[in-house]
Each structure stands twice: as structure tokens, then as C-alpha cells.
Amino acid sequence: MGGFLKSSIAKKVAMALSGLFLVLFLLQHFTINLTSVISEDLFNELSHFMGTNFLVQAILQPVLIFGVIFHFVMGFVLEAKNRGARNIKYVKYNGSANSSWMSRNMIYSGLVVLAFLALHFYDFWVPEIVHKYVESHPEDASRYYGELVAKFQDPIRVAAYCLSFVFLSLHLLHGFSSSFQSMGWNNKYAKGVRGITVAYAIIIPLGFIFIALFHYINNL
């Protein structure tokens, strides 16, 4: 694996695969969150399942964490290599003439998403782990909804949350379809795929923003 990842193309493919994995995870996360808008019980039920199921906790969760870390570490590695490929910069570089802002600034949209992830871990994941494994509270299957709503009371947090999802959208607008190109999938269906990825990149982050605003406004 180490040998394989030495080549530029292999790194790109790894980047694409980890990205696609995160795209799938995002969809699953979104689906569960969306239930919080529809039904408190359903949300609690699903969260309880995710929080206590052995497979999810012992296998999916580490894989996810690995995927996230791998994606951003590889992102940094590639960015460093790419910046290093042109030591003397252009005096004038008209990037907008030939490429989109999103495609040229994945590192920045990625960094914003990363910062958000840190906040997100601090908000949800760390208390969750402390709650379950450090302080070893007995499981209360109805606690999740309340915790969620509580977090969306602070307008500053909600604003940061919304802004992050705008950047996630920008990140996805390039990244999702780009991952297909990296894996060598560019043919007559590519245009259709591009349409789906763009729709995903806009709808999912917008959905997250909606959920946040929904709970914030609901509890004003």
C-alpha cells in the first residue's frame, strides 16, 4: 500500500475514494438529522441505535475517523507537493479564465470544514464519548433530541454552523464530481453524474442549514 501511494495518481485516487466515503457518510448523517425535524421519537430511536450498536461503534466509527483524518492529511500532503511544483510564482495569474474558484481553493474550503469538524467534535462527539465511556452513564434512549436542540440555542454557533456548510457546499461542488474523474470515470454519463453531484453539493448542505435554523427558530 505504501509503495502504491507513492505515485501521484494513486494519491489522487485515495483522495477520491476517501472523499466519496465521506460523501456517503454525510448522506447518512443528514438523513438521521432530518428526522429530528419530523419526529423526536424517530430521531431518538435512530440515534440510540447508532450510539449503542456494536458494529457502528467498534467498526464504522473508527473507519469514519480514519477516513476523515486520511482525507485531510492527504489533502495537506498534496497541497504541499503542488505548491512546491512552482517555486517562482507568476506575477500575473489569471486563474478565473480557465477554472472555477471552487476547484482552485479546495484547501481553503477544506480548512473551513476541518475547523467546523473540530467544533463539531467538541460539541457532540467528545461529550458523547465522555458520557458513555468515561463517566459510564446508563443509557437513556430519549436524551438525544434534547441535546441536539440545546446546541442550536446559541446564535453564534448557528451562524458558524451555517457558514461552514456553505464552504462544505463549495468543497463538494468541485470535489464530488472530481472524484469520478480521478478514478478514471469520465465518459458519456459523466455529464449526468456532474448534474447529480452539483445537486447533492447544494441540497445536502442547505438541508443541514435548514435543520439548524429550524431548531434555532423553533426554540426562540
Partner: protein, 248 residues
């Protein structure tokens, strides 16, 4: 028309360079960009100054010699042409034009606007060929029919002129479009199949060794390529590479 040219001047590979401004007058729209530089050079020679050195040869858009980053874009603002085919009618009286060499660590500056693109040659040498002896004792040319669409796609990839605009345009100075064009030309033809695995592995290895950046699919190369080489070629190379990796 009157113009101000801001041009990168650098004595040789080792010395430091800088941008120098040259006002120029009497430029006509029918002149090509390089003919405009000829006018400047005639003036510089008349004054006893060193003319600006730039690569050029065929001046009809096919040899791939001419380069130049013009106002932040390789081969200037017009699409699907090389610098020698860019005409001054694309500019307006009073414009300031910034002219720089193609920039990439793998394309070191030789002098002024001339860069060393031999890294491209080395990528080709690593596998950009079919290993057939030139004895002429091969099979008849028509003994293997080739699907016309494949032949046309192969030709489209093969029209690459090796100018390096893809590298110059890419924010990562990646040579994926160049390399993939050659890989694709052969991948699409039956003649190229026998060595397909080694070819893609060796060419990509050499490309990485030369210090080009990695592809992040911005698509800038495709837009700036004077021959319109498609991004599909990069996808095809990625595919070829993955399949070769599993065999290797």
C-alpha cells in the same frame, strides 16, 4: 496601437530575473504576437540592447516551440491557439501586457522567456512508443481494422504539440494532460495494447520524478490547451494506471 509590455528578463538559468517595462508603438492588428515582439527586438537591437529571447519556430501553431504566459494565461487570452497564432487585434490601444515564461520547477528558465521543457521528452522516453522495429517488415497496414471512433479519439489525443501550456496553466504545474494524451493515443489503438501496462506505469513514474505537481481536476489545462486535448484523456490514464497497478 500603443502598448506597454512588461516582460520577464533573465540573463541565464542561474541569474535572478526581473520584470522590465517597454513601451511600444505602431503595432497593427494584423501582426501576430510574436511579430509584435520582433518589432520590439528590432528596436532593442537598434539601441544596442539585448533583444528579448523567446522560443518560436514554425509560427503556424504546430511545432509547440512558442510558449509565453500572456496576461496570466498560457498563449494569451484567445483559446485553441498558440502564441504565434495570437494576433494583436485581440488587444486594445493603451493596453499593458504582462509577458512571463511558463512557470514550473520542471520547466526551469533558460533565458528571458525561454524555458527548458526536456522533462517532457524524458516522459516520452520512458514509454511513449510502440516497441516495433523500423524494418518495414510488419503486417500490412490494413490487416487490423480499427474502429473509426477509436482512431479519431486516438488522433485527437495525438495532436498534442508538447508546448507545456497545460503545465503553465495548472495551479499545481501538473503534466497530467500531456502525459495522458500520449497514453491515450496508444491505449485507444490495438497496436498499443501489448505494452499498455508498462507504458502507463513508466510514464507516470517519470512524470512524478520530474517534479510536476499533482492533478486536482481544475480543468484549466483543457481550457488553455491550444489543441483542445480533452480531460477525458486524464480519466483514461487514471483508469489505465489503476488497471496496470493491479496487474503489476
Amino acid at each position: 496601437m500603443k502598448l506597454i509590455l512588461k516582460i520577464w528578463r533573465q540573463e541565464n538559468a542561474k541569474s535572478a530575473g526581473k520584470m522590465v517595462s517597454y513601451p511600444i508603438d505602431g503595432i497593427e492588428g494584423d501582426m501576430s504576437f510574436l511579430e509584435m515582439l520582433d518589432v520590439l527586438n528590432e528596436e532593442l537591437v537598434a539601441k544596442g540592447e539585448d533583444p528579448v529571447e523567446f522560443d518560436h519556430d514554425c509560427r503556424e501553431g504546430i511545432c509547440g516551440s512558442c510558449s509565453l504566459q500572456i496576461n496570466g494565461e498560457p498563449h494569451g487570452p484567445d483559446k485553441l491557439i498558440t502564441t504565434c497564432q495570437l494576433h494583436m487585434r485581440s488587444f486594445n490601444d493603451g493596453d499593458t501586457i504582462v509577458i512571463e515564461p511558463f512557470r514550473a520547477n520542471a520547466f526551469p528558465v533558460v533565458k528571458d522567456l525561454i524555458v527548458d521543457r526536456t522533462s517532457f521528452d524524458r516522459i516520452q522516453q520512458a514509454g511513449g512508443y510502440v516497441s516495433v522495429n523500423t524494418s518495414g517488415n510488419t503486417i500490412d497496414a490494413n490487416s487490423i481494422p480499427v474502429n473509426k471512433h477509436d482512431a479519431d479519439d486516438s488522433f485527437a489525443a495525438a495532436t498534442c504539440i508538447g508546448c507545456g501550456a497545460c503545465v503553465a496553466a495548472c495551479k499545481n504545474a501538473s503534466a497530467m494532460l500531456f502525459t495522458s494524451a500520449k497514453v491515450s493515443q496508444y491505449a485507444l489503438l490495438p497496436q498499443g495494447q501489448v505494452e499498455a501496462t508498462d507504458r502507463v506505469m513508466n510514464m507516470v513514474r517519470q512524470m512524478d520524478l520530474e517534479g510536476f505537481g499533482n492533478c486536482t481536476n481544475t480543468g484549466a489545462c483543457e481550457i488553455e490547451c491550444p489543441k483542445g486535448i480533452s480531460l477525458e484523456n486524464i480519466a483514461r490514464m487514471n483508469r489505465e494506471y489503476l488497471s496496470a497497478s493491479t496487474k503489476g
